[in-house]
Symmetry: C2
Subunit: 70 residues, 2 copies
Amino acid sequence: MAIKKLVGQNLKRFREAAEMFQEVLAFECDLRRTYISGVERGIRNPTVVVLGRLAEPLGVEPWQLLAPEE
Amino acid sequence: MAIKKLVGQNLKRFREAAEMFQEVLAFECDLRRTYISGVERGIRNPTVVVLGRLAEPLGVEPWQLLAPEE
């Protein structure tokens, strides 16, 4: 699976597991909601620093956003 | 540890374990050697797509470049 798609699926899965709206995650990360949506749709190509910012409020480790679903 | 530093340490560790010079990895990934050196020094902020390109010739998974050393 393309890595951007994998990150998007993981981000959506962890965000929904945390019962967090995109708007809230965007606020927590100081990113735009449209950017979060773009990452979840596999369109955006986030840097490792952004991965760290996305992971933190979801209570997961950055590497988990890149890991294949068990 | 800052995420760029973690990625840099992991990249260097996996590259050396693969007994691969920076020049060879750069060629394999179609990146400049100076860029590889910048990532290893924790200066560069690679995207997930670049992480995928760096991981592949080293025979590791992209998420491993973000994981804390065991």
